[in-house]
Symmetry: C2
Subunit: 154 residues, 2 copies
């Protein structure tokens, strides 16, 4: 394995391991545990937004934003069922993974779609790989919170 491939492999393993930890939230999602549904929906919405940001494709669930990104937890009634969220989560992550698998190391080092060519020349760290790592940390941040919420609900 080349150095480049090895670095990408590390990052994709980190992504996967945090996605799997987030999926374990599913087992905790139950009526009355809105905090966990909200967190899981938030992660699904943020991951969905990666599709256009990385140039993989159109969003699958832009309608999640209102409930899970623009508004904080408990400000809107949650109208998404655990079952729907589960299906959406799987679709989003499969489509992301399909895209991730096609990127070469050099593709990862290219700019993401929210930065202009001109800005990217000045700030070459605004690339797809930085986004991948940032979103992995975002998963971990909220999985940590979910772990606490779970303990307190017991």
């Amino acid at each position: 394995m080349t150095t480049e491939k090895s670095l990408i492999d590390s990052a994709l393993r980190g992504w996967n391991s945090n996605v799997e930890r987030a999926e374990q939230l599913e087992q905790e999602v139950a009526p009355g545990k809105n905090r966990l549904i909200y967190l899981w929906g938030h992660l699904a919405a943020v991951n969905d937004a990666l599709l256009p940001l990385l140039g993989i494709g159109e969003r699958l669930h832009p309608e999640f934003d209102g409930m899970f990104i623009s508004n904080p937890d408990k400000s809107l009634p949650l109208t998404v069922s655990g079952q729907l969220l589960r299906t959406a989560w799987q679709e989003i992550n499969e489509k992301l993974w399909e895209g991730f698998s096609k990127f070469s190391a050099s593709d990862w080092a290219q700019r993401h779609t929210a930065v202009s060519e001109q800005d990217f020349e000045r700030e070459p760290h605004r690339n797809r790989f930085t986004v991948l790592l940032g979103r992995t940390a975002h998963l971990a941040y909220h999985v940590g919170q979910a772990a606490l919420a779970r303990t307190k609900a017991k």
Copy 2:
């Protein structure tokens, strides 16, 4: 910037940004807020253990393990002051950063010291870069918890 350098740069930025977020815990550390002191000490202890794991050097604060790793929060009285923790945190992260800065992309793709040469042949993902990304996610995981603890303390 080469592709390899760009990938490493992304990861080091991710590390730094999570270290900085963890440092903001410092501002919240006050008598009675033991939860935050514990989290911060835990992060310091885990980062300290990176020094030998990545082959950078000896540990600076192995004595933190008893209080912050082997025992869960609230099981032992905390005998470390916020001031001492602050100094230790800075020393640990400076020494880590010194080591990080010297690694080439190929150094990052080499095995860490807790895996044997033989095992590494079979499992080449057990490299320094995977450790760096895993510890970055570990920081994010607990920073997420600290953010919750802070909200609740208000």
